[in-house]
Structure formats: structure tokens, C-alpha cells
Amino acid sequence: MRIFRDTGHLFRLALVFAMGTACFLGVRSFLVPHSFGEYGHYRGSAISEIASHPLHFAGQQSCETCHSDVVEKKNAGKHAQVNCEACHGPLEKHVEDPASFDPGKPDTAVLCARCHAASAARPKGFPQVDIASHSGGVACETCHQPHNPAVSAGGTK
């Protein structure tokens, strides 16, 4: 006894369905990036792309490799916790090729005032001076060398 008549319809329907599914999967594999879903609902390779961005700050370790004498002097004074690049700026270029990229000396008139210009907004214990009345226009490094700022450690003059 035949339950179904004209089963050719069903086969054709199944064939169309299978072709549609195959077509969908084909287009999907072409459009969705290969690493999508590797870790979650995003492109997994985006993580390594972001991790490969170029450096600008070299990091304290790089400075200490060559300039251990300056670091030693700095660590003996009040600026022991201040990293080199906090004042000298980003120097990865200098680390890559010390000869071609000379960082130069920062301007102490701008640099020292950024942290030490007196303001009621700064924490009370932090050393700060009224720039105009404190030095009377004399450059900071005359009395304080930035690497070890105590007056007893001596300035440039």
C-alpha cells in the first residue's frame, strides 16, 4: 500500500531546500571572517591586530639598560619614583636607534611648574612653591638638578 502519492514533489522540495542551505553556508563562509567566534561574538584576530600597534613609550627597563648612572642618581633623591619618560617624553624611537633620535633636554621652566606650581587643589603634603616669588625668574636647575632636586645635591651653577 502506498501512503504517499506523487513523492516526486517531496524529493524536489528536499532538493531545493538542500541547495538553499548549501548556498547559505557557502555565502556565509565567504562573508564571515575566519576568526569570527574564536573567543566570542567578534573577530578573534582583532586582538592580535590591536596588540601589534607600535610603541611610543619605551618603558623604564629600556632606559635603565644604558643610563644606569643617571637612574642611580635619580633613585638616591626625591624623584626616585618618577620614571624617566614622565619628564623626557616618549622615547621608543631613541631606544630603537640612539644615534639618530636625540631627545634633547626638557625646558625646566615648563616641566617643574607642571607638578610643583603652588595650588590649593594639589594634595597638602606635596611639595609646591609659588613660582614667581620662589625663584624671582632664576631657572629651576640653577639650584635644583632635576634628577636629585635637593638643594644640598647641588644645581648646575
Binding site: 573567543y39 601589534s52 600597534h53 610603541l55 618603558g59 606635596f126
Partner: protein, 243 residues
């Protein structure tokens, strides 16, 4: 060369395998860094911040942040005893060049550095319609700028105002917690440049990280805890008026 049907049947699976390896690309360059071994966060020690703006300048230099946009910025609060819940907040150019001198006896002053809070349950990643922003397995909220449409849903969703649309690239941009640095064993540019140690990168999955002892022994808070974003930027001694 005469390829028989038998040869073809043997060659096809081999060709498929070769094609798979071509699609997979080269393995990562930093094999020593294991994403699953880290869960990054940051600690901000409010009493140590002097408002010098070093972090803002360092971030702009490290990440090529366009002028007038900020991945991190510093706010100065002035809270008066007659209006405790409505502080006066200023952040001229994100605090990049410091702040105007404050006079004595005008109230309580303090600085609050802000950045992406690297939320564990972030609203910004939930609203992205295309999966262009996500939290990485090591706990950093990142933007896939090749995939981002620039629809700015995430910019609206962030309760902390930490995202912007990049004026040239026209895609979402934000703090990456210097992902390109921390995966190489360096600290972030803002922490590198902070002269007082007010900002510290911390790894919550590292049992030896001093953050664990610090969190146990200090009054530490996150911003907008009522929003349950799972923020991972911790503020020590944060005033109640900070929003």
C-alpha cells in the same frame, strides 16, 4: 602528469588541509603571553593625583589620539560644605596642560583621572550590532576598528562617557588599556608617565599583584556601582560627590 581517479581522490583531502592552514594564517608573534592568565584592571589613588596632566599627554602620544578627544582625562572637583552633592567640576582640554591655580578656602579640591572602566559586564559591548566591540579573554574592552560601522550605539551606551567617534576614521575609539603594551610586559603609557604613582596597572588574576592587599586595606570604590557594570578601575579614597 597523468592523474587517475585514484590519485585525485587521495589529493583532494590533502589540498583541503593545505587550504585550511592558509586560511588560519601565521601563529601569533607573542607566544609567551597567555590571555587566560590575566584579568586587567587599574587602581587610581586619588590622594596622590596632583593634576599635572602627564597621563593625558602620554596617552595622546602613545595612541595618536586626535586633539580635542580623550581616552583618559583628568577632572578637578571643588566641593563646598554648603552644597556637598553638587560639586563644581572643570577639565580644561582634558587637563592636558594642567589646571588654573586654585585659591585657598574655596572648598575641598581633588583631582579624578578618568578612563575606560574596562567593565566586566559592559553596556557598550552588549549594544554593538555587529560584534565590533568586545571584552577580550584577559578583561580589556576593545574595538575592532576594521569591523566597526561607526553607528555610535556604544558611545551612547557607555555610562562613563569614555568613547568617541574618531573624527578621521569614523569608527568608535576608546582606551585599550594600552593593550599593545601590557601584552608585552610593559605598563600603560599613563602609568609610565604618572610621576606620583597615582595610577597603577593591576592584574587581578596574578596572586602576587599588590592590588589584592590594597583592596583589602583601603576604602576603594568604583564609579557608578549602582549600574552594575562590573567596572574594574578602582578609586582609592573617592569622594561621594564624584559621579
Amino acid at each position: 602528469m597523468n592523474i587517475t581517479r585514484r590519485h585525485l581522490l587521495i589529493l583532494l583531502p590533502a589540498a583541503a588541509l593545505a587550504w585550511e592552514s592558509v586560511l588560519a594564517g601565521t601563529p601569533e608573534d607573542a607566544p609567551n603571553y597567555q590571555m587566560t592568565e590575566h584579568w586587567w584592571s587599574m587602581l587610581i589613588d586619588i590622594p596622590k593625583c596632583i593634576g599635572c596632566g602627564n597621563c593625558v599627554r602620554a596617552c595622546q602620544a602613545e595612541n595618536d589620539v586626535p586633539d580635542g578627544y580623550f581616552r583618559t582625562w583628568v577632572e578637578r572637583y571643588r566641593v563646598t560644605d554648603w552644597n556637598l552633592t553638587n560639586p563644581e567640576v572643570i577639565s580644561p582640554d582634558g587637563g592636558k596642560e594642567g589646571f588654573p591655580v586654585a585659591a585657598e578656602d574655596q572648598g575641598k579640591y581633588f583631582f579624578v583621572p578618568k578612563l575606560c572602566n574596562q567593565c566586566a559586564d559592559s553596556p557598550c559591548t552588549q549594544v554593538c550590532p555587529v560584534g565590533a566591540t568586545f571584552i577580550s579573554p584577559d578583561g580589556v574592552v576593545l574595538v575592532d576598528q576594521k569591523y566597526c560601522l561607526g553607528c555610535a550605539y556604544c558611545v551612547q551606551a557607555c555610562p562613563y562617557g569614555c568613547r568617541y567617534i574618531h573624527p578621521q576614521k569614523k569608527v568608535a575609539d576608546k582606551c585599550t588599556l594600552c593593550y599593545h603594551r601590557i601584552t608585552k610586559g610593559l605598563t600603560t603609557a599613563c602609568c609610565e608617565a604618572c610621576p606620583t604613582g597615582a595610577r597603577q596597572l593591576a592584574d587581578l588574576k596574578n596572586p602576587k599583584d599588590p592590588i589584592h592587599e590594597f583592596l583589602k586595606s583601603h576604602n576603594v570604590q568604583v564609579l557608578k556601582p549602582e549600574m552594575a557594570t562590573g567596572a574594574k578601575v578602582f578609586y582609592n579614597d573617592l569622594d561621594g560627590s564624584v559621579r
